[in-house]
Amino acid sequence: MTDRAELEAAIEAVLFVASEPIAPGKLLEVFAERERAAAEEALAAVLERYRAAPERGVFAERVAGGVRLATRPDLSPYLRRIFEVTGRNKLSMAALETLAIVAYRQPVTAPEVQELRGVNSKGVLSTLLEHRLVRLAGRKPVVGKPFLYKTTKEFLAHFGLDSVDELPPLEEFEEMLGVELGPGDPGAGASGEEE
C-alpha cells in the first residue's frame, strides 16, 4: 500500500506538470483501484495546501471540469517584468459581446449572432476561433447550413468557470431590467436639446 505522504506527493507532482485542468477522476486513475479512496483524501489535502494565502503565489482552482494550479492574478505585474507576455491580449467589447452570445446561446450560428448584435460578426468570431475561446460544432440543419459555434474548455479555464452552468444567469439581468429604471446617469442628460 502506498503511504499517504507518497499519494500526496504524486498528486502534487501531477498537478504541477499538467498544463491543462485535469478531471479529478482521471487524476485518481494514476493509482491502483484499491488505493483510490485514500488517494481521494490525499487530493483533498493537496488542494487544501494550495488554498490562496497571502504568502502563496500559486493556488489550486477548479476550472473546466478539472483541477489545475495557477498563479494568483494580482501577482501578474511581477511575472510580466520577467517573462515575455504572449497571447494575453485584452478582448475588445465586440469580442466580449460575441463571446457572451455564444456562451449563453450555444450552439449558435453567425447569422444569429449578427441578428442579436445588429452587426456583422464574422471577423469577431474568427478572432475568437483563433484564440480558441470558441469552436465550430457542426452545422445547423437549416437553409444554408450555417456553422454552429460553441465555447471551448479554454474559455472555461480562462474565465475560471467549472462549466457553462456557472455563468451568471441571464435571468438575473432580466430581473434587473424588470424594475423601474433609475434616472440613468445624471451627467448624460440631453440638457441643451430642446432649445
Binding site: 506538470v17 489545475r68 495557477a70 517573462f83 467589447m93 449563453y104 448584435r117 475560471g160
Partner: protein, 262 residues
C-alpha cells in the same frame, strides 16, 4: 447651464466624442434611449429615428465610415416611423388588431441590453483573470506527442491542417501553381507595382499593362494604379502616346493599404 450653441442642433457635444465607440446600431439606439431618459418600452420612434439619422450624418461629417449595418438599421427605423403614423386597424370590438409596431424593436433592444450586461460581466471576469498564469506547455516532454486534444479538435483545426498541407504542397511543387485559377487581387497588384516603382525612373504604364498575362490581370493592375493616384502615391504624365507613372515621395500608410480590398 452653459450650453454652447452648436450647428449640429439636437446633439449635445458628448455624443460626438463617443461616436466611434458604438459597437453597432443597436448600441447606438440603446445610447439614445438612455440619453432621452425613457424606458425602452416607452420609446418614441419618431424621436429616436431622427436622432439616429442625425448621428449618422455626424459620423459622415467626421469622415467616419458609416457601416452598412447602421444604414440598414436606419432604413428599418424610417419604415417603423412611417408605420407608426398610419392609422391602426381595429377589430370589431375596438381592440388594436396589429399590436404595437414597436414591439419587435423593443424586444431586440431589451435582448441586446441583456447581452451587454452579460458582456460587461464577462469583461470584469476577463480583467481579473487575465493575470492568471499557468505553467503552460513547458511540460511537453511528458506527453507522448504534442498535439490537440481529440475532444477539442474542431472543423476549424481540420481545415487549418488541410490548408497547411496545400500551402506546403504548392511550395514544394511550384509547377502546380499554374493550376490555380488566375485571380488577381487589386491589392496584390497594388503591392507589386509599388515595389517596382522606382523613384528615379518613371514607369511606362501602357507598356506595362500590355506585358500582362490576361484581361483580369490588366483590369486589377489598372484599378491598382487608380488607387495609387487617389492616395497620391504616383503622378501621371502623358507625353505623346505614352503615359508615364512617377512615384511621389509620399509614404504609404498602413491603414491605406489595409483599406484596399481585393
Amino acid at each position: 447651464m452653459t450650453t454652447t450653441s452648436r450647428a449640429s442642433g439636437a446633439l449635445p457635444p458628448e455624443w460626438q466624442v463617443r461616436l466611434p465607440e458604438f459597437e453597432g446600431p443597436l448600441d447606438l439606439l440603446l445610447h439614445l434611449v438612455r440619453v432621452n431618459e425613457v424606458e425602452i418600452t416607452e420609446i418614441s420612434v419618431a424621436q429616436i429615428c431622427d436622432q439616429f439619422h442625425e448621428t449618422l450624418r455626424l459620423m459622415e461629417r467626421f469622415n467616419l465610415d458609416v457601416a452598412a449595418d447602421y444604414i440598414y438599421e436606419a432604413a428599418q427605423l424610417i419604415f417603423l416611423k412611417s408605420r407608426m403614423l398610419l392609422p391602426r386597424r381595429k377589430t370589431v370590438d375596438g381592440e388594436d388588431a396589429e399590436g404595437d409596431p414597436r414591439e419587435e424593436l423593443v424586444q431586440r433592444l431589451l435582448e441586446y441590453r441583456r447581452l451587454k450586461e452579460a458582456a460587461q460581466s464577462l469583461a470584469e471576469i476577463h480583467g481579473l483573470r487575465r493575470g492568471v498564469w499557468t505553467r503552460g506547455r513547458q511540460a511537453a516532454s511528458f506527453h507522448a506527442e504534442e498535439g490537440v486534444d481529440l475532444g477539442e479538435v474542431s472543423l476549424y483545426d481540420l481545415l487549418g491542417a488541410l490548408k497547411t498541407v496545400l500551402v506546403r504542397y504548392d511550395f514544394d511543387h511550384p509547377d502546380a501553381m499554374h493550376l490555380r485559377a488566375d485571380t488577381f487581387s487589386v491589392r496584390d497588384q497594388f503591392e507589386a507595382l509599388l515595389l517596382r516603382l522606382d523613384p528615379q525612373r518613371p514607369l511606362d504604364l501602357i507598356a506595362d499593362l500590355k506585358s500582362r498575362g490576361g484581361r483580369a490581370e490588366v483590369v486589377s493592375a489598372f484599378l491598382a494604379v487608380l488607387e495609387m493616384i487617389r492616395l497620391g502615391l504616383v503622378r501621371l504624365h502623358a507625353t505623346g502616346g505614352d503615359i508615364l507613372l512617377y512615384r511621389t515621395p509620399k509614404e504609404l500608410q498602413r491603414h491605406e493599404l489595409e483599406a484596399i480590398r481585393a
